[in-house]
């Protein structure tokens, strides 16, 4: 089931949450919607589910206009962030719910429903929990039940809202691998919302990065990591260091900066901003360097170094055993070597809050 979203907008009481979303999800694809809170990702997911309605735009699933269908008629599996299991029903009854509420004519027989529930309990590896109530389950077990309940109706599309948001790290990793398997075995088109980058990149075929009601970039982990489409994505992907540079013959130049390792790029000369991740900066000892070490902490594996030129302080992450780490003491003078980074032409001036669709300067990144 392919999902085509076209120019979708939505506002809540005058505040725009979606400002024109175009997105196509191919049949059988696993797509992650990612972005900071308030970026509109959950709203978009709920619109696909039929739990919210857009102000304008189109939602077409496998040739059907879903905006004419109620949530009940879309046959989707929706997994809620806090599971939303029915507390007064056993695990079995929860999973069977979607089958038992069907109109009599299309409802499977009791034995058939029981068999389906058994099969799902096996598949989800929670066969021993069938007779428990949700209050008696751990978070990870509840999440499995929630997914089982969604899968029981054999949904055309599976939608998950922050599926692992409320779980601890170990359970998360476990369930992530497991969800990937479930997706591969059921082959259903799946969209999930997350604010966890690791989760998005590890699970999804494609990641959609959203910011402030717009899609900023669509791609896989490497593309988004190495070639952020906008300063927003660069920052979101952890490039917290922003250095003002001058572009000269495709190279970034600034005092105390060695950008020789960055490829030349076809961008006009002029002022620009270089976005760097702390781990992509190597301090190189230089007695006349512009920067000096203000602080250097070790966590055993890596050094967290604060470099300053008196006015700005930038953080740098360096493996403790890297050759450059030797002799990096407080006060040591260094210059910065950029290992990787993204360049964007400097904005002419601060942009006012956009009322209509405006773009971040989208000059080509590295």
């Amino acid at each position: 089931m392919s999902i085509v979203i076209d120019n979708m907008t939505k506002s809540f009481g005058g505040t725009p949450v979606l400002r024109g979303i175009d997105l196509t999800v191919e049949s059988g694809e696993l797509v992650a919607l990612q972005g900071p809170s308030g970026s509109g990702k959950t709203t978009l997911l709920k619109i696909v589910a039929g739990l919210e309605w857009p102000d304008a735009g189109a939602l077409d699933v496998h040739g059907t206009d879903w905006l004419r269908l109620a949530a009940q008629d879309r046959r989707i599996g929706f997994v809620f962030q806090h599971y939303a299991l029915f507390p007064h029903m056993s695990v079995r009854d929860n999973i069977a719910f979607g089958l038992t509420v069907r109109p009599r004519a299309s409802r499977p027989g009791k034995a058939q429903i029981a068999a389906k529930v058994d099969e799902l309990l096996q598949f989800l590896q929670i066969a021993h929990l069938g007779d428990r109530y949700p209050a008696q389950l751990s978070g990870g077990q509840r999440q499995r039940v929630a997914l089982g309940r969604a899968l029981a109706i054999e949904p055309s599309v599976l939608l998950l809202d922050e599926p692992f948001g409320a779980l601890d790290a170990a359970v998360r990793r476990d369930l992530r691998a497991w969800l990937r398997n479930v997706h591969e075995e059921t082959g259903s088109t799946t969209i999930f919302v997350t604010h966890d980058q690791e989760e998005a990149f590890e699970l999804a075929d494609r990641v959609v990065v959203m910011g402030d009601g717009r899609i900023e970039q669509i791609g896989n982990a490497d593309q988004i990591h190495d070639h952020p489409a906008s300063p927003f994505v660069a920052r979101f992907m952890g490039a917290t260091v922003e250095l003002p540079v001058t572009l000269h013959a495709g190279r970034a130049e600034a005092a105390g900066l060695d950008a020789g390792r960055l490829p030349r790029r076809a961008q006009p000369d002029g002022p620009a901003t270089l976005f760097l991740r702390p781990a992509d900066i190597t301090p190189v000892a230089d007695p006349h360097g512009r920067w000096h070490v203000a602080r250097c902490d070790s966590n055993g594996a890596a050094l967290r170094i604060d470099l300053t030129d008196g006015a700005t302080t930038i953080p740098v992450d360096l493996p403790r055993r890297a050759p450059e780490a030797r002799g990096l003491e407080r006060g040591a003078r260094v210059l910065l070597r950029a290992e990787a980074g993204a360049l964007f032409a400097a904005p002419r001036r601060a942009q006012p809050a956009p009322a209509v669709r405006t773009e971040y300067p989208k000059e080509k990144a590295v």
Binding site: Q72, A84, H88, Q136
Partner: protein
């Protein structure tokens, strides 16, 4: 260094003082009268107790009370549910006023309620006149007793369900929607089970209150023996006649009713909320 045992400091001091005060209050104000009543009843002796309670007038009063309370409670159970639903699920102008109005039966002295109801529904009252024309008489009939009981016990149901409905996670209903459940199925299978314990509790308290309602009923009922005389009034009449034993016997029956109701209500609630116990 001394080796006195360490006493943890409480945030609020005076546990023994506050518990002592509450227990003393419960003993004096709640338990003592009940015990006195039971003791008074015990003096009567089973034979006489039985003959008082099975006297035609007593039986009739008990029947009137229980029937009217039952009808009033059934009405309130549904009306209260509807009211709580409207107050929690919809936004409309005047909602806060309506919400505040729900407390009027609590706040109003019951005698005032009884007098107002009588005035409204009497043959020449605002409501009574058209009803009379339609052949319905409420004042001085069993219907009037039910009306007065329903009026005074409405808030119990509304106020019991309201907080539960407000706290009900909207995701539950959304989940049911995505699973294909139609509105009626969502209500019956998701919402109703969630509010059932509170609904039962509210209705039981409303019933207990109706059984004992006195002030509002006596004005509108006309208090005709064998017709509209309620048990609480009969007990009062016996007291006036210095027939303490008769009064105590009738009061004991009402007390037994109330206790049984409370036990049944708690059992039902416990059953309905069983699944919330987080025991593996």
């Amino acid at each position: 260094m001394s080796h006195r045992p360490i006493k943890p400091k409480r945030v609020l001091p005076g546990f023994s003082l506050s518990l002592g005060t509450t227990l003393l209050y419960v003993a004096l104000v709640i338990l003592l009268p009940v015990i006195a009543l039971v003791l008074k009843g015990a003096e009567i002796g089973p034979g006489q107790f039985w003959s008082i309670v099975t006297a035609p007038r007593t039986l009739s009063a008990l029947r009137v009370t229980v029937t009217a309370a039952l009808v009033a409670t059934i009405f309130n159970a549904f009306y209260g549910l509807l009211m709580a639903w409207v107050l929690t699920r919809y936004e409309f102008p005047g909602k806060r006023i309506l919400d505040a109005l729900m407390d009027v039966p609590f706040a109003l002295p019951t005698a005032v309620a009884g007098i107002s109801l009588t005035a409204l529904y009497s043959a020449n009252g605002w409501f009574g006149a058209p009803l009379q024309a339609a052949g319905i008489e409420l004042v001085y009939t069993l219907g009037g007793v039910m009306l007065a009981m329903a009026f005074t016990s409405t808030p119990f149901v509304v106020r019991a369900i309201q907080p539960v409905l407000e706290d009900l996670d909207p995701a539950l209903e959304q989940a049911a929607m995505t699973l294909g459940a139609r509105p009626f199925a969502i209500f019956r299978r998701v919402v109703l089970p969630a509010i059932l314990p509170a609904w039962l509790a509210g209705s039981t308290v409303a019933f207990a209150r109706s059984l004992g309602e006195f002030g509002a009923v006596v004005f509108i009922a006309g208090n005709l023996p064998f017709k509209t005389e309620i048990a609480a009034l009969l007990a009062y009449i016996r007291l006036e006649e210095y027939d303490y034993q008769g009064a105590a016997a009738i009061a004991l029956v009402l007390l037994a009713f109330a206790l049984i109701l409370l036990v049944v209500s708690n059992l039902l609630q416990f059953r309905a909320a069983r699944h919330l116990e987080a025991s593996a």
